[in-house]
C-alpha cells in the first residue's frame, strides 16, 4: 500500500507540462534513432544526452528513459521493413517480421510488434515497482567492499557473455578502467596518465568516450557499406496498422511468458536485450505446435522477442536505479548522464530523492503508452525516416555528436578526444571486440577504485576484507560462475556432440 501511495505521488510529480513534453519528444526521437540501422538505444542516448544537461534531474531522467524505450520500440521497425535490425536486440525480430512484410502483412507485423512491446513494457514496469524498493533497502547494507565486489560481478558478467569473445570482452573492460584512471586521483591528488596535457587533469569525460565509441565509431563502421546498402527500398504506404482478434489471441500467452523471461534476463547484469530476444524466440519455437512456420512469417515469432525486448530493457533499469551499478552498455550511459546532473542513483536515491525516483517510475507507465501511440497510429509517418538516404543521415549524426560533445565543456580539445575514441570504436567493431564492457568500466571505474581503496583503508591494507561478509562471498561466487559458465556450457556441448557421434 505504501508503494501505491508513493507511485500516486510519482504520477502527480510527473504530470507537468514540461515533463510530458519531453516524454513525448524523447519517445519520438528515441523511436526514430532506434529505427535507423546500426544506431541502437545506446547510441541514441549518447547522442541526445547533451540535450538533458540543462534540465532538472527528474525531467532529464524521464527524457532519457523515454529515449531508451522509444529506441526499443523503434528497433524492430527496420527489422520488419528492411530485414536490417536497428540494434542487436532487434535481430530476432527479423526472423519472422521480415517474412511477414514480404508476404504483404507489414501492417500486422508493425502492429503486433508495438503491441507486444507495449505489453512487455507495461507488465515489467509493474514488476519494477514491486521489486525496486526491497532491492534498494537491501542494498543499503552494502559497504565499500560489497560495492567493489558488485562492480566486479557486473563487469565480469558483461565481459563474459560468450566464450569466444570473453578475452576480448575482458580486455575491453581493462581498457575502460584505464580510461577511467586518467586525471587527478581524488584521494591523494596524484596526477595520473595525463601525458602532461592540462586538459586531461580533470579526467576524460565519459560522455566523450561514449559519443566517440557509439556515435562516431558506429558511423565510421557504417561507412564501409554505405554505397552497397543503398539499393533498399522502404515501403512507406500502409493500410490500417492493426491486427485481428484471432492473431492477438494467438500471441497473448507467448507475450506473457516471454515478458517474464525478458524481465529476468534484463535484471541480471551482462546478458541484455539480444540474448533475451533470442531466448524468447527459441522458447516459443520449441513450445509451438507448428515450429516449421517459424521463420516464414509466424506472428508469434515476432510477438515473443518484442515483448521480451521491452521487458528486458525495463528489467535492466533495476540494478542501475536501485544499486547504482549498471548491467549493460545502455544503462551505463544513463548512469553516466545522471552523475553529470549530480544525481547518484543507488539505494539512497529512493530515500533522498524519492520524488525523483517515483516520478521516473510513473513516467515509465506513461512513456509506454506514448510509445505505443507513436508506433501504431503514427508508424506510417515515422518510417519515412528510413527513406532518408543514409548518405545524408550519417554526416548529420557526426555533426550532432560533435555539437553534443562541445556543450559538455565548451572546449574543442574534446573534439580531438572524441575522434580518437571514434577511431578506437571503429577498430573495436572491426575486430569484434565488444564495446559495452568498456563503457561500463569507464562509468564505474572511478567509483570502483575508490571503493576498493576505502575497503583497504577500513582493513589497514588487508585484502581479506573483500571476502569477509556473506554478501561479498555470494558476489564473488557469482563473478566466478559468470566467467566459468561459458566454458562449462561449451564443454558440455562438446561432450554431447562427442556422445552423439
Amino acid at each position: 500500500m505504501e508503494i501505491l501511495g508513493l507511485l500516486a505521488s510519482g504520477f502527480a510529480n510527473c504530470l507537468t507540462v514540461v515533463n510530458l513534453m519531453w516524454l513525448c519528444i524523447g519517445s519520438a526521437l528515441g523511436t526514430v534513432l532506434g529505427m535507423l540501422p546500426g544506431l541502437g538505444p545506446t547510441t541514441g542516448i549518447a547522442l541526445l544526452m547533451p540535450l538533458t544537461f540543462t534540465m532538472k534531474p527528474a525531467t532529464a531522467l524521464i527524457t532519457m528513459c523515454a529515449i531508451y524505450y522509444g529506441a526499443m520500440f523503434g528497433g524492430s521497425r527496420s527489422s520488419i521493413l528492411l530485414n536490417v535490425p536497428g540494434d542487436g536486440a532487434a535481430v530476432a525480430s527479423c526472423f519472422d517480421g521480415y517474412p511477414m512484410s514480404q508476404n504483404g502483412h507489414a501492417e500486422a507485423a508493425l502492429a503486433i510488434s508495438a503491441i507486444a512491446s507495449f505489453i512487455g513494457g507495461l507488465i515489467s514496469t509493474i514488476a519494477f515497482v514491486a521489486v525496486a524498493v526491497p532491492v534498494a533497502r537491501f542494498a543499503l547494507k552494502f559497504g565499500p567492499p560489497e560495492y567493489f565486489m558488485l562492480m566486479c560481478f557486473a563487469l565480469a558478467a558483461t565481459a563474459a557473455i560468450s566464450k569466444e569473445a570473453m578475452i576480448k570482452g575482458l580486455l575491453s573492460m581493462c581498457l575502460g578502467l584505464m580510461i577511467a584512471m586518467v586525471g587527478i586521483d581524488p584521494q591523494s591528488g596524484a596526477v595520473r596518465f595525463t601525458f602532461g596535457i592540462t586538459a586531461l587533469q580533470t579526467g576524460i569525460d565519459f560522455v566523450v568516450v561514449i559519443i566517440g565509441i557509439y556515435g562516431l565509431g558506429e558511423v565510421f563502421s557504417n561507412m564501409e557499406h554505405i554505397h552497397s546498402d543503398m539499393a533498399v527500398k522502404v515501403q512507406t504506404k500502409f493500410g490500417r496498422i492493426w491486427i485481428t482478434m484471432e492473431q492477438f489471441k494467438r500471441c497473448w500467452w507467448p507475450m506473457m511468458r516471454e515478458t517474464v523471461v525478458g524481465f529476468f534476463v534484463g535484471v541480471l547484469p551482462g546478458a541484455g536485450g539480444t540474448i533475451a530476444c533470442l531466448m524468447a524466440y527459441n522458447n516459443e519455437k520449441q513450445i509451438s505446435k507448428e515450429p516449421d512456420n517459424f521463420g516464414k512469417g509466424e506472428i508469434v515469432g515476432l510477438a515473443a522477442p518484442e515483448a521480451a525486448n521491452n521487458a528486458c530493457s525495463v528489467g535492466a533499469l533495476i540494478p542501475m536505479m536501485t544499486l547504482g551499478v549498471p548491467g549493460s552498455g545502455t544503462t551505463a550511459v544513463m548512469l553516466g548522464a545522471l552523475m553529470i546532473l549530480g544525481l547518484q542513483p543507488g539505494p539512497l536515491l529512493f530515500q533522498q530523492h524519492a520524488d525523483i525516483a517515483w516520478a521516473v517510475i510513473a513516467s515509465m507507465f506513461l512513456g509506454d503508452i506514448v510509445c505505443a501511440i507513436i508506433n501504431i497510429p503514427l508508424a506510417s509517418l515515422l518510417v519515412r525516416v528510413l527513406a532518408v538516404p543514409t548518405k545524408i543521415l550519417y554526416p548529420v549524426i557526426v555533426a550532432m555528436a560533435l555539437v553534443g560533445v562541445y556543450t559538455i565543456n565548451f572546449s574543442v580539445v574534446d573534439f580531438v578526444l572524441v575522434v580518437i575514441f571514434g577511431v578506437f570504436g571503429y577498430f573495436m567493431k572491426k575486430y569484434k571486440v565488444p564495446t559495452s564492457p568498456l563503457i561500463l568500466a569507464v562509468v564505474v571505474g572511478g567509483e570502483m577504485e575508490q571503493s576498493y581503496r576505502q575497503s583497504l583503508m577500513m582493513s589497514d591494507g588487508s585484502l581479506s576484507i573483500l571476502f569477509r561478509s556473506p554478501i561479498c562471498i555470494v558476489l564473488l561466487l557469482l563473478t566466478v560462475i559468470s566467467i566459468a559458465w561459458p566454458y562449462y556450457s561449451a564443454w558440455k556441448k562438446a561432450k554431447k556432440a562427442a556422445a552423439a557421434a
Binding site: M223, I392, F415
Partner: protein, 142 residues
C-alpha cells in the same frame, strides 16, 4: 591476433607507467598505483592469452560482408573534417563553421550529385541547432 599484440604492448606500457607514477604525498605512497597496476597486469595477461588462442586457431576467416572499395577514404575524410571543425569552430563562429563542416562531410559521403540536398541539409541543420541552443536552452555557442 592483431588485437592481442596491440593490447599486449598497451598493457605492458600501461603497467610500467603505473609503476612509475609519482608517489602520493599523503597516506600510503603506493596507494594511487595499486589499482592501475593491477589493471595493466591483467590486460597484459589477457592479451597474451588472446595471442595464444590466435596461434592455436590460425588466422581468422574473413567476415561475410566485404567492405566497399575505398571506404577508408570516407573514414579518413570524416576524421579530417572533424579535426578541421575543431580548429575553426572558435575562430569563425558556430554557424559558418558548422555549415562548412557539414558541407564537407556531405559532399564527401553523398557526392557532388546531391549538391542541392547537401546545401539544404547543412543550412537547415546549422541554423536549426543554433536556434535551439541559443533560444530554447539558453546556451551560448561561439
Amino acid at each position: 591476433m592483431l588485437v592481442g599484440i596491440f593490447s599486449a604492448v598497451f598493457g605492458i606500457a600501461y603497467a610500467v607507467m603505473s609503476w612509475n607514477l609519482p608517489n602520493a604525498s599523503i597516506g600510503n605512497p603506493m596507494a594511487p598505483k595499486y589499482f592501475p597496476l593491477g589493471v595493466g597486469v591483467l590486460a597484459t595477461i589477457l592479451a597474451i592469452l588472446l595471442i595464444m588462442q590466435g596461434l592455436r586457431k590460425g588466422p581468422a576467416k574473413a567476415g561475410k560482408k566485404v567492405p566497399d572499395k575505398g571506404y577508408w577514404v570516407l573514414i579518413v575524410g570524416l576524421i579530417v573534417c572533424c579535426l578541421v571543425y575543431a580548429f575553426i569552430l572558435e575562430k569563425v563562429g558556430f554557424i559558418i563553421s558548422t555549415i562548412v563542416f557539414l558541407l564537407g562531410m556531405l559532399f564527401l559521403v553523398n557526392g557532388v550529385k546531391g549538391w542541392l540536398s547537401n546545401i539544404a541539409t547543412a543550412l537547415i541543420y546549422s541554423v536549426g541547432v543554433w536556434y535551439i541552443f541559443e533560444k530554447v536552452f539558453q546556451l551560448s555557442l561561439p
